[in-house]
Amino acid sequence: MQKSWRQRFHLPAVIGTIPMILVAVGVFVVGIGFSVLWSFTSSKLFPTYDFVGLAQYRRLWGDNRWLVSVNNIWFFGLMSIACNMVFGYLLAVFMDQRIRQEDLFRSIFLYPFAMSLIVTGLVWQWVLDPNLGLQEAMRNLGWTSFSFAPLVDANTAIYALVVAGIWQGSGVTMAILLAGLRGIDDEIWRAARVDGIPTWRTHISIVAPMMKGAFATAFVLQCVGVVRVYDLVIAMTGGGPGIATSMPAVYVIQLITVRQNVGQGMAAATMMLLPVLVVLAFSGIVIWRRNRLRGAGA
């Protein structure tokens, strides 16, 4: 039976969700559309509609600063996600051993996440400051040859960002994975023990695969954070020394504010969107196929 128009568009519901309609369509569809559109124009400070084809993309990929930024985000992303996962999982496993003061440890591991990335960046900027931080402190303690100033060296500054990222984010990974660990049936552990499987082996081969969901959650959370890493870089290194820690998120903002080159900025922003679209399309296909299989099996 055909539903009447009134049933298909219940008026109060439509009115109540006007903000959602505006945001979903007006910001996320039209906005992104304009960003992509402007990336094909020669816009400088203000948008123009003088189309220049792929010229902005060619200039973008010829810009050394952009190439460094892209390299950096891959390096930072892979390093910080991998370290976060390993460290977070270790913390979760150790926390799951019926320890004393569990709540205290949990609070300690998690509190950096409550703070702004600006705060995190500044804190680590000072800890690693060559004249004030760890290096000076160790030298004052008598170890005069101690040298540890990663932030002033273009080759090592990005590692400092990774450490700050771990400090801020691994507590959350721990909390999510710990919840996953607690959700695993005690019987699994008992069965594995009866079969004489060592604990570490049980973790890697049985428990970790069972925690797929928790891992996926932690992973998604970190991926979103990595693509958006802006505040941390601004507070900690400002993209320096030189352009050594520039990232795409920083690059785009610089182009549209300081360097007033909107066309190229939008080209860079579109490039940032691309991996997100690929991942979303991929996971969409996976979910769709799984649902279809489940439907066929039922």
């Binding site: 519901a13 109540g16 906005g31 960003s35 702004s116």
Partner: protein
């Protein structure tokens, strides 16, 4: 019990084998090497998380001459609160030297309305999506969730142009709108999942009794939404308070939030760097979300997890 005697490498399983007598259980019979290693690891990890903040607090209580001596870890020999007062009232950002306090009030002015408006919008969205799905509503929701993954940089410039065309760019209402927009995907998700878990009979009974869209929302759904609203408030207050990017782009100089002022104080000072003042300013900026975190405890984690699980 015999199983519990197996190697020290798995003390927890050994203990959990006994009758479950609460989390404290039976005292370990002896302190095994594995157990010691466990606590050593946890304590070292805890130091990694705590030392930076210890340094901050200690340094913020020292005078500049003492800082120049370079004894980073020492407690202050003559503790002083002067740096804190300076940070709040006199620290300079470029020309003006009013400290962080204007930034604090700006952050309050930005955060409160943004939190209220975004939660109202999101709860109505979640309710409508769950109980009154109209044609195309799920497509809209899909677009919104997609928005949760989009890098901000992709939509910032169109938003600048859009807001300035209606005269709201670099104003207080402008930044509030921006926070409402970017909070909407995750909050709508949160509320939709919450309402979807409610018994639908509740809604049907109200419908049979003749209640309409708004009546059911205000008299039935809203009073039952307290737990999820608490989670949403925690999520939004900390998120918006900690925001830097939107604040610096959309708020305009007179409305710059605390995070932006802090970064200006610390990273654009010329001349002598007053580390003690800078660190006091940093702690002051982090104070509000930290208080929320310690007061709310496990709700905080629930908020993060709830937002992420279905994301």
């Amino acid at each position: 019990m015999t199983l519990a005697q197996t190697p020290a490498a798995m003390p927890a399983q050994g203990v959990s084998d006994q009758a479950d007598a609460g989390p404290s259980g039976k005292k370990p019979r002896r302190v095994s090497p594995g157990r010691i290693g466990l606590y050593v690891f946890l304590i070292v990890a805890a130091l990694f998380f705590l030392i930076p903040v210890y340094i901050m607090v200690v340094t913020s209580l020292k005078g500049m001459p003492e800082i120049r001596l370079g004894h980073l870890f020492n407690l202050p020999s003559e503790p002083t609160l002067q740096p804190w007062a300076d940070a709040w009232l006199h620290a300079c950002t470029g020309r003006d030297c009013n400290g962080l306090s204007p930034g604090f009030y700006n952050s309050v002015k930005i955060t409160l309305p943004s939190v209220v408006i975004s939660i109202i919008c999101a709860s109505i969205n979640g309710y409508a999506l769950t109980f009154w799905p109209y044609k195309g509503a799920n497509l809209l929701f899909g677009l919104l969730v997609f928005g949760a993954f989009v890098p901000y940089q992709v939509v910032i410039y169109p938003l600048i142009i859009g807001l300035s065309s209606v005269g709201l760019f670099a104003t207080l209402p402008g930044i509030i709108i921006v926070h409402t927009i970017f909070g909407m995907p995750i909050l709508t998700l949160l509320f939709r999942n919450f309402y979807a878990a409610m018994p639908v009979e509740l809604f049907k009974a109200a419908r049979v009794d003749g209640a309409g869209f708004w009546r059911i929302f205000f008299y039935i759904m809203l009073p039952m939404s307290v737990p999820i609203t608490v989670v949403a408030v925690i999520l939004q207050v900390t998120g918006i308070w900690n925001d830097f990017l939107f604040g610096i782009v959309f708020a305009g100089r007179p409305n710059w939030p605390m995070t932006v002022q802090l970064n200006n104080i610390v990273n654009t000072t010329t001349g002598v760097r007053e580390y003690n003042v800078n660190m006091a300013a940093t702690i002051l900026t982090a104070a509000v979300p930290l208080i929320i975190y310690f007061v709310s405890g496990r709700w905080f984690v629930r908020g993060i997890a709830a937002g992420a699980v279905k994301g």
